[in-house]
């Protein structure tokens, strides 16, 4: 059954016609073009489709889109390449094929927002439920530790607990004040260009 949903995605309010029982993953990936939110297992086992819902990691393949309406949804597209967690993953070579990595990044952002200097058990608990079949876990741990060591910068960029939700809420509020015309754009912060030979 198709219904009208207003989605608060990456700080923007977006109207979308969608089945409220459809997985949130299908709505944000298939309809809204959030490519990083990948369907891989479909049963909440792998974490490739992770989004932040009100700041907490959620498996979007298991969340009905209707339940996400009215909550702040953050996907990897909301982070810039300068985000300290992203920078740490790049610097520590914490990726191989990369299919799973945006999910790890988001869970790391959420972890560091609530715990500035997580210990090994905390890191593993936060990233349990994310599968990396290439086997990059050791490098991912190094990236999380490196990102934590740049903790002040993270607090500035991703919020120190209540930062992200507030700023996104503010962004949505400002959109609504401008005459209740949500943006009809599916992407933000993307710099990818159309296909074709680079040279």
């Amino acid at each position: 059954m198709i219904g009208h949903l207003r989605i608060a995605l990456n700080g923007r309010a977006i109207d979308v016609e969608a089945d409220p029982l459809a997985p949130l993953q299908a709505v944000v990936h298939d309809l809204l073009g959030m490519r990083s939110v990948r369907l891989a297992c479909g049963v909440g086992a792998c974490g490739a489709c992770t989004v932040l819902l009100d700041g907490e990691p959620a498996r979007s393949c298991l969340v009905p889109a209707g339940l996400a309406a009215g909550r702040e949804i953050v996907t990897s597209e909301a982070l810039s390449d300068d985000h300290p967690v992203r920078q740490a993953f790049v610097a520590e070579h914490a990726y191989q094929c990369g299919y799973c990595i945006p999910g790890f990044v988001l869970s790391t952002v959420a972890l560091l927002a609530r715990s500035a200097d997580p210990g090994p058990a905390e890191v593993d608990a936060a990233l349990d439920g994310h599968l990396c079949r290439c086997g990059s876990y050791a490098a991912i741990r190094r990236a999380v530790v490196a990102a934590a060591q740049g903790g002040e910068r993270i607090a500035g960029a991703a919020g120190s607990g209540d930062g992200p939700a507030e700023s996104f809420a503010a962004a949505i509020a400002s959109v609504d004040e401008q005459g209740d015309e949500p943006e009809r754009e599916g992407r933000r912060g993307e710099d990818d260009e159309a296909a074709g030979p680079a040279r």
Partner: protein, 768 residues
């Protein structure tokens, strides 16, 4: 339909999601940021979606495929069954390594999940829904589900024309085993087995195909685009050069994407409908598309009073499933590796690959060597313990050194197993001392036992194999490396760019790397067998040298200067005596019409043994050793890996961070089949169809106490003063499970002989 949204950037007209070259500078950020485009992201205007209808039974006669109800569903474009394939004159068309796979099953089905029809619809969801309405009339027959069943007297026949159910048999012997047995102080016999498993790349198999003006264009998750191109050209009777197979970066491969699979069916569906057609396997499809070979190994070994091997023999039985894929190679690879890299004066191995009515088994990172080493390296440990020798010392005393003979009788020129073993043991010490424990155990110490285990691994690389490369000077003075080597996260593009940069004395940011597109990138046998760094790397290096020669020749003709007075450098071609110079940009502009292109082909023809004249089995060996500390809770049977270390022979490391990722990835990947991964086929259906029932290695399974090393040779080694570059994709994986089983045996005295080392299995062994 999930819904609609008008500004979806994935649906832009004309966007195929395909970048023909990799931007090596931007790519790490694209991967981490989730912007990298995989095959699953490819789209074409007017594209339709396919869903495959699969056999629900393991064996039977396919009496009828009723597509009527499915074709009546709104949004269905067409339903294609074997009858349509036959009507197109392709009933007898076959592809695959043994030419055994039809485009769709007709008359017979031979495994659960075998494709019998494809529904093409306007949306993927409609296709999937309609696929459930296709009615199959199948008369079931008795399936053959294991190698033992297949090879038993009077077994039902899986593949017509092969009444013995033998797909391949690889056998080799050397020396007098019976005489050696007679002079042995002790003889040991054991049986070990491994279940099937699934490669489980997070990105499934994906294929998008379209026909334009009689030309076939395919975007596919293939590790072997050149082979897929040949398969498609043969199947559809196309001229070479009219089929293009393009491979975007893979979201994991691990061998699973090594053979042609979806491409023929999707290409057929695209031709039959006149539409671009895309198929994305769902997770359950993956479990019936390709698996790891289940295997059992009987192994026998003798030692003399001094603790040296007198002989070893092994008999291996493998379950191939219903189609061959890489089975011939697996029987050989496991056969070569099962006895290990030891001094063994007399030996014999028989490795038999049996057709079975289960989903086809293909390449699985480690290619048959994991199943073999699971047996061979555990028995080595049992022998050492039985003769009261230290397992490391026993191995060190028996391992071959450079110039000595392997069990096959061939000399191995470049043996580094002792170095690997010593380095792994040393790294385990380091891991223990600087490791942090993720979680303090709540288990009372009285029921926890601690043990240490080691294992070594030897794996061949495909010999002979062929790789071609082009290295082209571009108009902007940059250089493009063109090969059909597939990026699947292993970093092959970075490796090839660095090799080209070194050979051309250029900074690496002047190198771009083409993605595989068989319409423009040259032949490569396969990106597997950990061969790309070695074989494709050598082709690129030679092609780069060829480019230098051609550039100097072109400059010589243009300037009237003899070529031997000209030098190539980062700034171009220069004559030292006069200072005459042409930049690379100027050279590109002045070059021949198709630009200056260096070309080379690398073939690793096997050398012949100087004494026997026999070709060697592998042009080099992947060599590694694993050492592990484990704790075992003897009440619950839960095994925890406390510290883990590995050392692999790299020869010459091209990309340090990439080498480390490969080694760490080996250890991590290897823990999966060791601890939790198993696929059984009761009644022919897979025991798992999702990633809840099939549990991959999670971060909590991996100890923080983890150390690896890639061992390098010295300058002056090797043919031209440089140690050979070795791939590192699989060097440690085969050692992980036996090392862990050896640690469990060290801790408890109990030995697990069938994978995985699950709590249930371990408790059963502890009770014995």
């Amino acid at each position: 339909m999930t819904g609609t949204f008008e500004a979806n950037p994935l649906r832009d007209e004309g966007f195929a999601g395909w970048a023909a070259t990799a931007d090596l500078d931007a790519e790490p950020r694209e991967r981490v940021g989730g912007r990298l485009r995989y095959a699953i992201d490819t789209e074409l205007p007017g594209m339709a979606f396919g869903a495959i209808v699969r056999s629900p039974v393991a064996a039977g006669r396919l009496a009828a495929v009723d597509v009527g109800a499915a074709e009546g569903v709104a949004g269905v474009v067409r339903v294609i069954s074997g009858a349509d394939v036959a009507a197109a004159g392709l009933a007898g068309a076959r592809f695959g390594s043994l030419g055994d796979q039809p485009i769709l099953a007709t008359e017979r089905v031979t495994h659960v999940g075998e494709p019998v029809a494809i529904v093409v619809a306007e949306t993927a969801e409609t296709a999937r829904r309609a696929a459930k309405l296709v009615r199959l009339e199948v008369t079931e027959s008795t399936p053959v589900l294991t190698a033992d069943e297949a090879l038993a007297e009077g077994a039902p026949i899986v593949r017509e024309g092969r009444p013995d159910n033998v797909l391949s048999r690889w056998a080799r012997s050397h020396g007098d085993v019976e005489a050696a047995r007679a002079r042995s102080a002790r003889v040991f016999r054991a049986r070990f087995s491994s279940p099937a498993a699934q490669q489980a790349s997070l990105e499934p198999h994906v294929c998008l195909a379209t026909w334009r003006d009689g030309r076939l264009e395919v975007w596919s998750t293939s590790q072997s685009p050149s082979r897929a191109t040949e398969d498609l050209a043969t199947l559809f009777g196309l001229e070479p050069g009219t089929v293009a197979v393009r491979v975007p970066p893979l979201g994991g491969g691990y061998g699973g994407k090594n053979q042609t699979k979806l491409e023929p069916l999707v290409a057929f569906a695209a031709r039959a409908t006149g539409r671009p057609v895309k198929v994305v396997n769902d997770r359950a499809d993956e479990f019936v598309t390709v698996t790891k070979h289940a295997a059992s190994v009987e192994i026998e070994s003798g030692v003399d009073a001094a603790g040296r091997f007198t002989f070893r023999t092994a008999t291996i039985r493998w379950s191939a499933g219903a189609y061959a894929l890489s089975s011939v190679a697996v029987a050989r690879a496991g056969g070569l590796a099962v006895l290990g890299p030891y001094r063994i004066p007399a030996a014999s191995v028989e490795s038999t690959m049996a057709w079975t009515n289960v989903p086809p088994a293909g390449s699985f990172r480690g290619l048959g060597v994991s199943q073999a080493a699971w047996a061979g390296e555990q028995q080595v440990d049992e022998i050492a313990r039985a003769i009261e020798a230290d397992p490391v010392d026993f191995r060190r005393a028996n391992l071959v050194r450079s110039g000595e003979r392997l069990w096959t009788g061939e000399r191995v020129a470049d043996a580094h197993w002792v170095e690997c073993l010593d380095a792994a043991v040393g790294r385990l010490e380091v891991a223990r001392s600087d490791g942090v424990s993720a979680a303090a155990s709540a288990t009372p110490a009285a029921v926890v036992r601690h043990g240490t285990g080691v294992a070594v691994a030897m794996k061949h690389t495909i010999t002979p194999s062929r790789s071609e490369a082009e290295v082209a000077l571009l108009a902007d003075g940059c250089v493009e490396v063109r090969t059909s080597a597939v990026d699947m996260g292993q970093g092959v593009e970075v490796v090839l760019a660095r090799i080209a940069a070194d050979a051309l004395a250029l900074p690496v940011d002047r190198i771009v790397v083409a993605r595989p597109d068989t319409a423009r990138t040259p032949f490569d046998m396969t990106t597997s067998s950990s061969r790309a760094t070695f074989a494709v790397g050598n082709a690129v290096e030679a092609a780069a040298r060829d480019l230098v020669d051609r550039a100097i020749e072109a400059a010589s003709i243009a300037a009237g200067i003899p070529p031997d007075r000209l030098d190539w450098g980062p700034d171009g071609i220069r004559e030292a005596r006069t200072g005459w110079q042409r930049t690379l940009r100027e050279l590109a502009a002045a070059g021949p019409g198709d630009g200056l292109v260096g070309r080379a082909t690398f073939v690793n023809e096997p050398e012949r043994d100087a004494e026997t004249g026999e070709p060697v089995s592998s042009s080099h060996w992947h060599q590694g050793a694993v050492a592990v500390d484990a704790s075992v809770d003897v009440e619950t049977g839960i095994v925890r890996v406390e510290a883990l270390a590995g050392a692999a022979w790299a020869g010459r490391v091209v990309n340090g961070p990439g080498a480390r990722l490969q080694n760490e990835g080996n250890l991590t990947f290897g823990l999966g089949p060791a601890l939790s991964e198993a696929l059984e086929f009761p009644a022919g259906s897979p025991s798992a169809t999702d990633l809840l029932d099939y549990r991959l290695t999670a971060i909590r399974d991996l100890p923080w106490a983890l150390e690896t090393v890639a061992l390098e040779g010295s300058v002056g080694d090797g043919v031209d003063g440089h140690p050979e570059r070795h791939g590192l994709g699989e060097s440690l994986i085969p050692g992980v499970a036996p090392a862990l089983a050896n640690a469990v045996a060290d801790a408890t005295g109990a030995r697990v002989r069938r994978l995985p080392i699950s709590p249930e299995r371990l408790l059963a062994v502890l009770d014995e």
